[in-house]
Symmetry: D2
Subunit: 305 residues, 4 copies
């Protein structure tokens, strides 16, 4: 397949959607993104790369960080993690307290905010004061890029406006599902959300999930094959909040979106993809990013189904 | 009626219930109460008083404070208060986040925790840094007793274990239904819960609600007649969390309980009552206190129905 | 008090509300009522009567029938009834299946549809094939009027449109909280809703609840004093669906409304009241009826608080 | 791969699980199944077949029928179907009324009971009185087997005990999401659940979903390629009620289970699988069937992830 042509077609066909969607307004810093930005990167297991748009422009990875922290925690801590976070779709918006209360503080899966906060709490128990630098190191390793850091302003902005996340963590603490001090865990969580990456880096960083858990170039195992498959299945069933079914239905690839406008997707045994466009649809996922991935699987037939 | 005899009979008949119920365990300080304590005080509008048990022993008033703060806020701030807190029974346990989320951060009534926190936030907007001393002054005034203060240890204990309340306030903040800094409001809230009073003081303090809003001795108006009636109706329909219907059904008086073991009740145009016994029933209300009030209305026929 | 003058004032003051509210549209027959109808009747324990408006015009009593069936069932069957129906406010719209499902088929109280259907099922177990005529006989007795019957057309209309009630009864059957055949119970239920009475008859029929359970004229006991008080308390906390708190707050009397436009209210030890006006407010209660009762307690001070 | 050996290994390894699980007890007829039954069939796109256990024994397909009716309805009626049924996982048990009520009568997806009932209603609008024979014809065609019928006794048993389904359909009717008479639709629905098939027939019947919508032998298109992919994605995200995430996590194949003990699964571009064993796990899916499929993907690496 000629991926350069396909990317060009996609870029043409998405133009008409730039009038749609909305920048997120609950974190002031995110509302300042450039509405016309678009980037898409494909990286294959053979090392071929295809990029279009502003693929060098960094944006905050937000919830895409959940894939990295869950991978790291699953490697070290899977038994406890399985008790403290479920793996079922949530059927409710991403920061819902309702389900959490009915289910006594056990989040439905690691890709909703509550589940990612518990995951970060697990990592805090292992790495203590070094937890954030360990998370960042892991992301640098899987990206094969040392030039990754977090944005202090976005971090501060999230910390000052993340009331729902404070509500979630306090709620889980009341059910004894948070073991470390609330302020430490939530700061680590907001820092990981504020990590800045571009579509090139993110597509690279997801390759191990397309390659049964191994770095395709160094051959180093990042996570076991069976765990890599499970992370993919979780991305498929739970990666897009209350629109996960829709994403699976229309795109047909494991993926994870962030409110920063990025979406990563994995084509098992073939490649990893990242798209970026900051305006969000009703469900809080990049509107044009979702559209672009839908066009991609339609044009290539590379859906897993 | 011979209230001395009635109190004596009640004290006899409740003895068999001392084996039942449980001290609350979510706030360590409250778990240290003396399980055998019991007190009951009646004060009539004519100034007659009847007491039995440890009616001089102070305990933390906890949620009974909600009646005082709501009265104070209603006097100054009723229009805004009606928009920010409902007046329907909650049909759910007292610290439920579920209903709050479905109803976009508007608590169902001022006598569940969320509603009382919004009430305290309203008072914080009026009194700013003096808010707690103003609340305490108000309670001293209606009790006609200057010797009332809060317990620092209980306050600290609540602050360190009140994760559900932190969850509630953060949730409401995310819906813009909290206007002042979270830490200030929650501290004032926990302080008001930690105020120490005995059954004598509390029975006195409720008299204005039995007397159409006026202090029966000084004749000073505390609140308008129509507002006094509305507070009574709220105590009847919402004063005992998820057991409000049961209390209305069995006792038939407006009342408000606190997890510290106290319950106040109002006999309109006649008297105010306070009972104290620290072990709680399944719904978080004083088990023996509820029983004693049930016996009281059965023996005297003084239910409002 | 001069009740004639008070009724006249009320009739004047409600005129401005006739433009508001809506006829119910989910049962076609009810949508045909005359929007301008208004009636109000007071009957005291001494036998004095005061009427205004179309107090001889019959309308379908709808949910007011729940008070009669609950009284009848409570007299014969209280122990089982307490296990199968709760007595807490529902905190949800009147035909909500949600709470019923969370609470395993046990309705919150006898004054929401599900609870009234269980009540009718209890009566069906006692009276078998005669159940509806026994209900009607009871209403004739408390009304002291033999000229009461149900409207066949309204009954048929409800039967053909009552899908939510069919959903409720099937749901409860699945939890084994319905003992008799579904079709029999639901028909009896819809028949009792279709009983036609005017405000005179209904005010008379409620007198025993103002008189500690006894017919004030024949002195015959209808129900025990303590049960009469409990029915009053249930009407106060649960008589108006999700607006029960509001009714208690603004009117301050035990009452029960029906979507046919009627509302009954009880002033303990003094009188019973019935108002009628067919347009409903947002919560499904007569808009002008609620207003009229609010004016009544404001003018007379006869709230129980 | 040597599928005969793999099936043999699976049959050995599942033996230890026969003590676990439970026969369903809410439909008496299903409780009479033979607890020790087990069968597994694989059919590849090339026409190779592998069977083990009682693969000729027929059982009622129950919810597996939802895949057939949804396929049939999607072919003829997709635009309306998309409005009346969602495609998100439900996050709640399979017959939950709660979500249905919160979402105004629109079921979350076609593979929960409510969604399948709406699907059957759509088919009733197209085929009117012939609807059940059209459904049966479609199943005969995709199975390439004329010898398929429904079991009258199971049908009658379901009709007499399906109160939750009656509740669901009445609820949806109240929201105008059922267009045909309730009794007709529910009878068709229970009949389709009572269709009897063995694992051989069911594996055959699913082949078109492994083959982009075409019958692999006759080459006849059953449904378009994009719709076939969407059905697979729906089976993956919603095929196992509240355990869909778990099935995706552990098995990693699109699949659909029925309370009759059958589970079908699709390996895109390769084969279709059916397992049967009547004892169910906590979530209402065949316990040994789920285990067998988990062993299958572990041994073969044929997960889609």
């Amino acid at each position: 397949m000629d991926f350069n042509t396909i990317l060009k077609e996609i870029q043409d066909e998405i133009q008409k959607y730039f009038t749609k969607g909305k920048l997120p307004n609950y974190i002031p810093m995110l509302a300042q993104a450039d509405e016309n930005d678009f980037a898409m990167s494909l990286v294959t297991l053979d090392g071929e790369e295809y990029h279009t748009g502003c693929s060098n422009k960094k944006f905050s990875i937000q919830s895409i960080s959940k894939v990295f922290t869950f991978t790291l925690a699953l490697e070290h801590y899977s038994k406890e993690l399985y008790k403290r976070v479920g793996h079922e779709p949530s059927g409710n918006p991403f920061n819902s307290l309702v389900q959490l209360e009915y289910e006594s503080g056990i989040p439905r899966n690691p890709f909703i905010n509550a589940g990612a906060i518990v995951t970060t709490d697990c990592l805090s128990s292992i790495y203590e004061n070094n937890v954030f630098s360990k998370i960042l190191d892991f992301i640098k390793k899987v990206s094969n890029d040392q030039d990754i850091t977090f944005d202090e302003d976005i971090f501060i902005s999230e910390l000052g406006h993340g009331f729902k996340n404070f509500a979630l963590i306090n709620m889980m603490k009341s059910y004894h599902n948070i073991k470390n001090p609330i302020d430490d865990v939530i700061q680590t969580y907001f820092k990981q959300c504020s990590i800045m990456m571009n579509t090139k880096q993110l597509a690279h960083a997801m390759l191990f999930l397309a390659n049964h858990g191994k770095d395709p170039f160094s051959k180093e195992p990042i996570i076991s094959e069976s765990k890599a498959k499970r992370i993919n299945s979780l991305m498929l069933t739970c990666g897009h909040y209350d629109a996960s079914g829709d994403f699976a239905y229309k795109v047909g690839l494991p993926g994870k979106s962030g409110v920063g406008g990025g979406i990563v997707a994995v084509v098992p045994k073939k490649m990893a993809i990242c798209v970026y466009s900051p305006k969000l649809n009703f469900h809080g996922n990049s509107l044009i990013g979702t559209k672009a991935l839908e066009l991609f699987t339609t044009k290539t037939g590379l859906s897993i189904f």
